[in-house]
Amino acid sequence: MIKVQGLTKIYRKYDAGDGLVAMARNFALRRYENVAAVEGVSFSIEAGSCVGLLGANGAGKTTLVKMLAGLLVPSGGEAQVMNEVPWHRHNSYLRQIGVVMGQRQQLWIDVSARENLRLGQVVYDIAPAEFKTRLKSLSEMLEVERLLDVQVRKLSLGEKMKMELLAALLHRPRLLFLDEPTIGLDVVAQNRIREFIRSRVREDGVTVLLTSHYMKDLEELCPRVFLIQSGKLLHDGPLSTLVGRLGDVKRISFTVAEAGPVPQALGARQGEDGRFYLEVPAKEVPVALRRLMNAVNVDDLSVTAPPMEERVRQIMQQGRVSE
């Protein structure tokens, strides 16, 4: 479905400088520098799979998605998606993909979603009967039937995102690019959208490339995850493998009867909730607990695995994945 070899995108940027003098100098003489947003990325994706793209802000995820969707022309490398070169943007290619960008609306906001979808019907050449059936089934699944005739600008963020998904899937694309589709949504809306994406992968066999900052999106939807850091592909495999590379760590969380310097001396840090947290390798938990009990008067204590978000953040902060 997708074959990518050494894909690179270099942006030309300039530094505006700090202060009026620097800005005036920049106005007269602009110094550009090349920044690699994506550098030598290679991978392949099978049809019908859901792959997650993970990385810090500015890591190059969206640039990669935009190149594969055909929006950006790469500075180097090759890509074949459904036997087409994406950035040639042939209509035959554009008819087979759907794109949702959480931070960039694609619908016309001054008209209703139904008017937007009508444009899609013509542009994607969907037969009237099929359009009707598809619209009914998708809008029921997303629970937006009653909102189809409301001006898009008057919809809530979650409702807009559902409409974007509806518009992206109306023409039965074989490949769906989802760039942060759950950003800014509440937990209920996030779950609904996740469930919807899962059902499309299962029932329509659509291939999904998903970027998200919410680890739950990736955990629940993507058996395979790419970690991108500074434009480079650092990990290609299950999320659990990525997290496992940090080693098996447990988090001891506790409160103490009387505050003092002792918990910090043990290496614990105090969270905003007032609790103390101590992270230790799993096999050292009994020793750490013993030391803790001897040192302080513990009120409440629990031992858990650290949240996935935090572990991945750790990996991203380190900027490398240990082999």
């Binding site: 929006l71 950006l72 943007r89 008819r95 993909i97 794109v99 609306q105 001054d110 013509v122």
Partner: protein, 275 residues
């Protein structure tokens, strides 16, 4: 279901009409904008007429135009200009390119030219429909000496079509400059100012010195407003009409080719970082 070959061949026209419809519905959402635009168009024509009334009170005639001729000329020229001048969609679409939201069009199997042209005409049609009765009302207010012959109407529509074509091509080329110059509003503003002065909207180009008129004749400028207006007023002889029409088609073809070539380069330059 129509045959596949028909669907493929008719796709650009169907896409354009669908986009025109959507943009039209979108334009109708803004009632205040609409009413103010209609009002401003009528007011600007009224101001021009009032100024020429003052000038011609003393001179009586300027280069073959008396006050009655000039009033008719200005009304027709303003109607054509209203249809062809484009500020809003050029500035909006340039901003979309600058901000990266143009991707919503580029990700669909529809040409950006169809989107831009559909959006432009959709904004113009309601204004045109609203302003025409205002201008027609002038006929009761000022006795107009305006009785066009059928041939003149045909010539007018032929030249109006070329005017729209040339305008669409040039405005799309201006939009394209946003792929190179993120601050391309200056290009759009500059062109519209030049157009106001040299297309024949403010007054007939015959008022300019002969050498300048000859120079302008080689550019698309007089084909936007001046020649269509002359045709409707019966001031363009038939032989000259054919020459002008052929030349306008020639310029249109050159601009279309230029637009195609520019687009090939422009779409490779899209630089949208983040989001």
């Amino acid at each position: 279901m129509k045959p596949r070959w028909w669907r493929v061949l008719s796709a650009p026209a169907r896409n354009f009409l669908a986009q025109l419809r959507l943009s039209f519905v979108s334009a109708l959402q803004y009632r205040t904008d609409y009413l103010l635009t209609v009002f401003s168009v009528a007011v600007s024509a009224g101001v021009e007429i009032a100024l020429w009334q003052l000038v011609l009170k003393k001179t009586g005639q300027v280069r073959g135009y008396g006050l009655a001729d000039l009033i008719v000329y200005l009304i027709v020229a303003n109607v054509i200009s209203m249809m062809c001048v484009n500020w809003e969609s050029v500035l909006d679409m340039s901003e979309e390119i600058r901000q990266g939201s143009v991707s919503r069009h580029l990700l669909k199997p529809i040409s950006l030219f169809s989107v831009a042209t559909g959006d432009w005409l959709a904004r113009k049609i309601p204004v045109m429909l609203g302003a025409l009765p205002v201008f027609a009302g002038l006929h009761h207010w000022i006795p107009l000496q305006f009785h066009p012959h059928f041939n003149h109407v045909l010539m007018f529509f032929a030249l109006l079509a070329t005017s729209l074509w040339l305008s669409a091509e040039i405005y799309f080329l201006i939009i394209m400059t946003a792929f190179w110059l993120s601050e391309n509003q200056g290009v759009a503003i500059g062109f519209n100012v030049l157009r106001w002065g040299f297309a024949g909207t403010a007054f007939p180009l015959a008022f300019y010195p002969g050498l300048l008129v000859k120079f302008l004749d080689a550019t698309p400028m007089p084909y936007f407003v001046y020649y269509p207006t002359l045709a409707l007023l019966g001031r363009l002889p038939t032989e000259e009409f054919f020459l002008k029409f052929l030349y306008a088609v020639f310029i249109g073809c050159a601009l279309s080719f230029n637009r195609w070539a520019t687009w090939q380069a422009a779409e490779r330059r899209l630089q949208t970082v983040g989001g």
